[in-house]
């Protein structure tokens, strides 16, 4: 009486579970292998051994604030190295580091601060000590026309001036805290954003009267945003380090890209975008 109408059903379920667990096992396995090996596959290995300068493919993980400059440097690099292909993944530095720690396929990492790069070097994931290739300082960003008539850091504490900052937990926020301390002001922001892009978005939309962003962000934002420099910005100089990663199977090309960024061609592009030289 208690017999199931389909005796085969439990067996099927068991098969399904086994299969699923098997798949999970495979997934884990391949994840491990990518963390050790190169994702760019055999093509890069073959190509790099053909001689006549490094070629093949690399993936560069770079901080979101490097998007414009690195895209440009990458295009120039591909022209200078026929047969080379550079793919970029731009995101917040801490996101990139978390992805690399989980075995994401990357050959080169460039972060917007030394702290996040430190998390990668702490696990000895880089081939050589990171090199600082640029630096950046904060600037006050105001919407076009400067509706709240902001001219200095002290103006940001005026009542009625809506200021947006990065949250202290993110690099641009800790930089903001440093310059506030240096200037002896205590800004009460209406919002503490996740990233410098979010701050810039609120300012360029005119929602906020002012925000603290990097000099390069103001340069890149065009006419919607005006920048106001202030002397205390020297209290927080943000360094951008770059390093080739051990996980890369195309170390020659990865090193060549690092050299392109730290060398004259890359430095010119970075300077044109408002980045300062490495301190």
């Amino acid at each position: 009486m208690t017999r199931r109408p389909h005796p085969s059903r439990p067996a099927l379920v068991a098969t399904a579970v086994t299969l699923a667990l098997g798949t999970v096992g495979c997934g884990g396995g391949s994840g491990d292998s990518t963390s050790k090996g190169s994702p760019t596959g055999s093509s890069s290995r073959e190509a790099s051994s053909t001689g006549g300068g490094p070629s093949g493919e690399i993936t560069v993980f770079a901080a979101a604030s490097l998007k414009k400059t690195f895209t440009r440097i990458g295009a120039d690099f591909e022209k200078a190295h026929p047969g080379a292909k550079v793919t970029f993944s731009f995101a917040g530095s801490s996101d990139l580091v978390a992805q690399i720690q989980q075995g994401a396929p990357a050959d080169v990492l460039a972060t917007a601060d030394t702290r996040n790069m430190g998390r990668v070097t702490a696990e000895s994931l880089t081939t050589a000590p990171p090199v600082v290739f640029a630096s950046n300082t904060l600037e006050i960003a105001v919407p076009a026309g400067n509706p709240a008539h902001v001219s200095s850091l002290a103006d940001l504490v005026q009542p009625g001036v809506k200021v947006v900052l990065c949250a202290p937990a993110v690099p641009c926020g800790s930089a903001a805290t440093k310059v506030e301390q240096a200037a002896g002001v205590d800004i009460k922001p209406v919002s503490e954003e996740q990233s410098v892009t979010d701050v810039l978005g609120k300012v360029s939309a005119g929602e906020a009267d002012a925000g603290l962003v990097y000099v390069t962000d103001v340069e890149g934002a065009g006419d919607a945003v005006q920048g106001i420099t202030f002397p205390q910005s020297s209290a927080a100089v943000n360094s951008y380090p770059i390093a080739a990663l051990k996980a890369s199977r195309n170390a020659a090309l990865a090193d060549a890209f690092v050299q392109a960024v730290t060398g004259a061609p890359g430095q010119q592009v970075l300077a044109a975008a408002g980045f300062a030289k490495a301190p």
Partner: protein, 265 residues
Amino acid sequence: MSRSARTPRLGLPGWVFLPAVLGALFVVLPLLAMLTRVDWAQFPALVTSESSRAALLLSLRTSAASTVLCVLFGAPMAVVLARTRFRGQSVLRSLVLLPLVLPPVVGGIALLYTFGRRGLLGHTLDVLGLQVAFSTTAVVMAQTFVALPFLVVSLEGALRTGGQRYEEVAATLGARPTTVFLRVTLPLVLPGLASGAVLAFARALGEFGATITFAGSLQGVTRTLPLEIYLQRETDPQAAVALSLVLVVVATTVITVTRRSRVAP
């Protein structure tokens, strides 16, 4: 044996179970994986920190408020869509349901250009002395925007399935439209309204993109639990995992409790 031979078999084909189990694992496994990463020793301290409590309270408050708004506006919308016919109705329905498929960030940008300081209605609101941006009101608006279609869809489905027979009888007996709506239509679709409201609440609780784009992020004012999780991940991944678990538990509780109370008479 003899019994199963006589009764017609209405069982499912056996092979259905394979993709069903795989699908279920795909949803459940990541949640279990998250559980394995929770630092249980630190858990109480992490979820009761000042910022965590502020975020949870704000999330519950704003989600409740946006659910009320969804019911107030969504129920009439569903009735209009289900019970009337007019030109361009299908286009209107698609537009109303758009937030279902729209990335929430897009919703946030759209809200910003409508209710923001320099938005379409921003100047009017400013004259009236209303400043929406960076306020808890903005959070509720963002949540309502993304959650409203869930209520409209559930309720419109319930209204169509329920049919109009009882409403017609009530009308023949001389009941006015308002009486029919409040005494006949609404009580009949109450379960549909309830499940729609639960869905809307759950969606509001998980809202992230539109909130961070439109409302900003400030502890106790606009930083809801999902925003707090995303921010904590930056410095304290353990706290982010602990808070994610809290959000999962709250959402699961809300859904199970309301389901059970609806199933049980």
